[in-house]
C-alpha cells in the first residue's frame, strides 16, 4: 500500500477547516474578550463559566449539543432549512465544531493579554485625542499581540485536532468530511498503517513547525 493522492484530501480539508474556524474564533473571541476584560457586571461569572464550558465538556457532549442545534428541528437547523440548506454532515459543520471547542482557548488567552496591557497607555491615548477604535487598533491590540498569538496558535491546534464532536456532526465521509484525525482513526481501524503513519507524520511535523516559529517570533517581541 502506498500513500495515495486522494490521501492528501484530509490534509487539505483539515487545514481549510482549521483556518476558517480560526478566523471565526478570532472575529468572535477578540471583541468578546476585549469587552469582558475590563468590565464588571452582574452575571459576568456565569457568562464566563458558560464561555469556558466547551473546554471542559467531553467532545461527545459538544457533538450532541451541536446535533440538536443544527439538526432538522434545531434552532440553527430550522433557520438554515428556511433558506434551503443544511450543514449537517458537511464540512461546514466540522468548522462549527472546531470553532466551538477552540473558542474558550482564544477567549482565555485574549482576555489575559488585554488585561496585561497597562491601562495608562489607553488613558494616555485618550488624552491625546484618540477614539476607542483607534486606541484598540494602535495601542491595545499591538501590546496584547504576543498573548493573542498564543491564543491563535492554541485555537488553531485545537481546531486541527478536533475529533469527537466533528465525527458526530460531520460524520466520516471520505473526500467530503474526513479530516486528518478522522482519517487516522479509520485508517488504523482498517489496518491501513501506511496512511495512518503518513498522516501522523504530516500533522506532527506541521504542528511542530508552527509552534517553533511562533515561539521564536514571540521571543523577539519584548518591550
Amino acid at each position: 500500500m502506498y500513500f495515495h493522492i486522494n490521501d492528501w484530501f484530509p490534509v487539505l480539508l483539515s487545514l481549510r477547516v482549521a483556518l476558517i474556524a480560526l478566523i471565526a474564533v478570532a472575529c468572535l473571541g477578540l471583541p468578546v474578550a476585549r469587552l469582558l476584560a475590563r468590565r464588571e457586571f452582574h452575571g459576568k461569572d456565569v457568562l464566563e463559566a458558560a464561555i469556558t464550558l466547551p473546554l471542559v465538556l467531553p467532545p461527545s457532549v459538544i457533538g450532541y449539543g451541536l446535533l440538536v442545534l443544527i439538526g432538522k428541528n434545531g434552532l440553527l437547523g430550522e433557520a438554515l432549512a428556511d433558506i434551503g440548506t443544511s450543514i449537517i454532515f458537511t464540512w461546514w459543520s466540522a468548522v462549527l465544531a472546531s470553532t466551538v471547542v477552540a473558542f474558550p482557548l482564544m477567549y482565555q488567552s485574549a482576555k489575559a493579554a488585554f488585561k496585561s496591557v497597562d491601562i495608562n497607555y489607553e488613558k494616555a491615548a485618550r488624552t491625546l485625542g484618540a477614539g476607542e477604535i483607534r486606541i484598540f487598533f494602535t495601542i491595545t491590540l499591538p501590546l496584547a499581540w504576543p498573548g493573542i498569538i498564543a491564543g491563535l496558535v492554541l485555537s488553531f491546534a485545537r481546531a486541527l485536532g478536533e475529533f469527537g464532536a466533528t465525527l458526530m456532526v460531520a460524520g466520516n465521509i471520505p473526500g467530503q468530511t474526513q479530516t486528518i484525525p478522522l482519517a487516522i482513526y479509520f485508517a488504523v481501524d482498517a489496518g491501513d498503517n501506511v496512511t495512518a503513519r503518513t498522516l501522523v507524520a504530516i500533522i506532527t511535523v506541521f504542528s511542530f513547525l508552527v509552534i517553533f516559529w511562533v515561539n521564536r517570533w514571540a521571543k523577539r517581541q519584548n518591550y
Binding site: N120, K123, A125, T127, L128, G129, L143
Partner: protein, 223 residues
C-alpha cells in the same frame, strides 16, 4: 481660565475640591491616598465627579446640572502620567506624533508647532528613533511632555512628575517645567507629595488630606 468645583465620592471619603486658576501653576500637595490623582482624572475626564462643574476657558467640560460631560478626547487637556505611559511599541517620533494624527483626522487642520522641533528644544531631538525602553527617566519625561504638548492643550496636568527621578535630574527638570510654563502660558495643575516641589513650582498650593483642602491657596514667591 480653569474653574472647577466638584465632589467625588470615593469608598472611604468624599473629595470636595474648588479650583480657580488663571494661567498659574497650581500644586495639589498631600500624602498618597488623599485623592490627588483622582482630581486630575476628573479634570481630564478619565473618571467622573459625583457632581459639580468644570470649566476651561469658555468651555464647560463637565456640569452635573446641565448634564454635560465632554469626552476626554475632546477636552484638550494634556496629561503627564506618573510613569509617563509612553507607548512602548512606538518610537519616540511616533509617540509624539500620535496625538497629531488623531487631531488631523477629526478637525482636518494640523496644529501649529512641529513636535519634532519641540523635541529639539527639550534637548531630546536626537532620540527620535529610539524606543521608550532605551531612554533614561529624565529623557522619558521630556518626551512625555512633548507628546502632551504636541496637541496644543489648554491645560496641562502633571501627576507626580519627579517621583521616578534621581535627585540631581529632578532639580533640572523642575527648572524646565517652570520655564515651560512661562513659555506656554496655560494653567498647570501638578500633583506631588514632595514639599520642595510644591514650594518651588506652586503659584498656588492646595494641601489635601482625605479629600479636604486645608489652608487653601497660600501664595508663594515666583521667580
Amino acid at each position: 481660565m480653569l474653574e472647577a468645583k466638584f465632589t467625588k465620592k470615593l469608598w472611604h471619603f468624599t473629595l470636595d475640591i474648588q479650583i480657580d486658576l488663571d494661567t498659574d501653576i497650581l500644586v495639589l500637595w498631600g500624602p498618597s491616598g488623599a485623592g490627588k490623582t483622582t482630581i486630575l482624572h476628573c479634570l481630564a475626564g478619565l473618571s467622573n465627579p459625583t457632581g459639580g462643574l468644570i470649566k476651561l476657558g469658555d468651555t464647560v467640560l463637565y456640569s452635573s446640572e446641565d448634564r454635560i460631560n465632554v469626552n476626554t478626547r475632546f477636552r484638550n487637556v494634556g496629561y503627564l502620567f506618573q510613569d509617563y505611559a509612553l507607548f512602548p511599541h512606538l518610537t519616540v517620533r511616533k509617540n509624539v506624533m500620535y496625538g497629531l494624527k488623531c487631531k488631523k483626522n477629526s478637525n482636518g487642520s494640523l496644529t501649529a508647532k512641529n513636535p519634532l522641533e519641540l523635541l529639539d528644544s527639550f534637548g531630546v531631538g536626537h532620540l527620535v528613533d529610539r524606543y521608550p525602553r532605551q531612554l533614561s527617566g529624565g529623557e522619558k519625561q521630556r518626551v512625555a511632555l512633548v507628546r502632551a504638548l504636541a496637541v496644543q492643550p489648554k491645560l496641562l496636568l502633571l501627576d507626580e512628575p519627579f517621583s521616578a527621578l534621581d535627585k540631581n535630574i529632578k532639580d533640572t527638570l523642575r527648572q524646565e517645567i517652570k520655564k515651560l510654563h512661562h513659555q506656554w502660558r496655560i494653567p498647570f495643575v501638578l500633583v506631588t507629595h514632595d514639599k520642595e516641589d510644591a514650594e518651588f513650582l506652586g503659584d498656588k498650593i492646595i494641601s489635601l488630606e482625605k479629600g479636604r483642602s486645608r489652608d487653601v491657596t497660600m501664595q508663594t514667591i515666583s521667580c
